[in-house]
Amino acid sequence: MLRRQRPAVSPPAAEQPDAEAVRPPAALAAPAPSWGERLRAGPVPWILAAGAVALLLTVPLWASGYQVKFLTELYMLITMAAAWNLIGGLAGYASFGHVAFFGLGAYTSALTIVRLGWPFPLSLLAGTLVALGFALLVGWPILRLRGHYFAIATFGLAEALRQVAMAASAITEGGKGVNVPAVPPPPVLRELLGSSVAANRLLFYALMLVLLGATLLVWRWVSRGRLGYGLRAIRADEDAAATLGVDCTRYKLAAFALSAVPPALAGGLYASWINYIDPVTVFNVDYSVSMVIMTLLGGAGLLWGPVVGGVLLQVISETLWGQFLELHTAFLGTVLVLTVLFLPRGVLALVRGGPRRPSLAALRQHLWRYSV
């Protein structure tokens, strides 16, 4: 049985008995927590994080419209990558169809607003519930499968959903797409910024940022809890995990369902942010791919992996985008190939555990590890 484990940091200094008086011989003493460890255990990271969020929230007040749009989209993509990191990173189950939840969230939200006249927050909730229900419904059969069957089954499901959205035009308007009316921004914001366009820009920027923060917090909470350890055990060796009493299917299902929520919310936000959705855009396989690439590039199974990978990928992609518009996908593919071949554990793995001296022998050993 897996027990909830504490993170590997020493207890805070205040809890230790009078350290000076009863200090055991140096050889036996546990190493005193370093400054870094003490800082990390205290409230400092939380204060820093809150400060960073507050700072980021002011961006729309001084940045250009293009920059705000770029960042809003970046947050959206990282949110989805962080959600993917739950099932793909922790459990090692690569979903190639996570865009399904984005599309379901976008369509449910858009259609409840347009056809039923629901208010925006309620439509977001509806989108989340539909995606969650779908995740549970399809997750139960396909999560009994091992990784590779799962990977393509999810891909197939997303493609099937796109086609259904295209074909069931009586409900979804098919390929014509759905025009989503703009959300009336809170009056306070409108007065503060002078126009409802600027207010809406700030509103969706802030909502995406909050969604990203919330997703990272949920990931951290899952990762440190019983579920997270169970999922890691599944990733390491599913049979062994089952022997140890991990209810594999249930754990995977929980992770899969949880990982469906942020993309669904992101999809709902996207629909009202861009004001137009169609099957090709919101069920675009590129979203599924970007979730995988961002997470892998940064480091799968690490909290900051999707964030680092997402920022890297989008910044590189954006700087190259202007010059090689046509070769954009080839560029993504090349990044993917090079990452898998040379950085299988992501960029963050390079800096974890301190800097290392590069050596040719180590590189060769690393390169030929998995070849025949």
Binding site: I142, G147, G156, Q163, E326, A330, L336
Partner: protein
């Protein structure tokens, strides 16, 4: 819906299924022997189709004669790709090779779009649109030829695997990598050869598709999806299974499309996939390959 239409749908399904079977044959072989899910398989199908197309348009070579050229080109491409790229991580967790081939697929498809634009093309030969009338049914010549070639290719691969020394070596490698290495089989060559055969079969499938269906640079992923469904239906690395699975999928799609409407054709295939994975994870002809 009357019985005649339904029977014609079943017949069309069988003819379509021949293509699916051929696409899945190489995919299933690579998966079964190397434990690699080659997501770029559909990209090889696309390259095969375009090779045949350009040979027909520029040189005037008949597509059925262009097919061997496409196969040869794909064989070489597959061999090099396995030897110099995929081989680097071929024994890593399957997740990694899946993502690697996914990246390769993105690159090939994008280069295809840049080179040939996204236009939909098709080949019209002298035989296109003609067919033999059997009672109430119509069987187009090219589709019948496609099904026949699919049957021949399956048989040929079966004979190769069952009767030749190299085929035995491939089967041995599939059963136990270390033991095969121990008896002196050059694993790296077997892997490269297996991947090359898989790619060549994809090239053949592409050549046949170019005569019967419209082609675009991004047609590949659909066929990778079909290959996966067929492999799941037929069982991993099982050649007869690929044939049966392909035919079953073809019939399910055409009959489903006739009943529900053409927009749902692909969705039916994927629904079938999930159903099969739930009910019979080892495939219709049921023998477990790799877990």
């Amino acid at each position: 819906m009357d019985g005649g239409l339904l029977a014609q749908a079943v017949l069309n399904g069988l003819l379509l299924g021949g293509i699916y079977a051929l696409v899945a044959l190489g995919f299933s072989l690579v998966w079964g022997v190397m434990n690699v899910i080659n997501v770029s398989h559909g990209a090889f199908v696309m390259l095969g189709a375009f090779t045949t197309y350009w040979l027909f348009v520029r040189v005037g070579l008949d597509p059925f004669l262009g097919a061997p050229v496409a196969m040869a080109l794909m064989f070489v491409l597959g061999y090099l790709l396995q030897k110099y790229v995929i081989n680097l991580i071929v024994r890593a967790p399957m997740f990694m090779t899946l993502i690697l081939t996914f990246g390769i697929n993105l690159v090939i498809v994008n280069l295809g779009i840049v080179a040939w634009t996204g236009d939909v093309r098709s080949i019209t030969t002298g035989l296109s649109g003609q067919g033999v009338v059997l009672g109430p049914f119509v069987v187009p010549y090219v589709r019948a030829a496609t099904l026949l070639i699919a049957l021949l290719a399956t048989t040929a691969l079966f004979v190769f695997m069952d009767r030749t020394r190299t085929g035995s070596a491939i089967r041995a490698t599939r059963m136990d990598l270390l033991a095969a290495e121990g008896v002196g089989i050059r694993i790296d060559r077997i892997y490269a050869l297996t991947f090359a055969i898989g790619a060549a079969l994809a090239g053949l499938a592409g050549a046949l598709i170019s005569v019967t269906l419209p082609i675009t640079p991004f047609m590949g992923f659909t066929y990778t999806g079909k290959a996966f469904v067929v492999t799941a239906l037929g069982g991993l690395g099982n050649m007869a299974g690929a044939l049966v699975g392909g035919l079953v999928l073809g019939v399910a799609e055409t009959v489903g499309a006739a009943l529900l409407g053409p927009g749902y054709q692909d969705a039916i295939g994927y629904a079938l996939l999930v159903l099969i994975l739930v009910l019979r994870p080892s495939g219709l002809l049921g023998r477990v390959g790799y877990a």
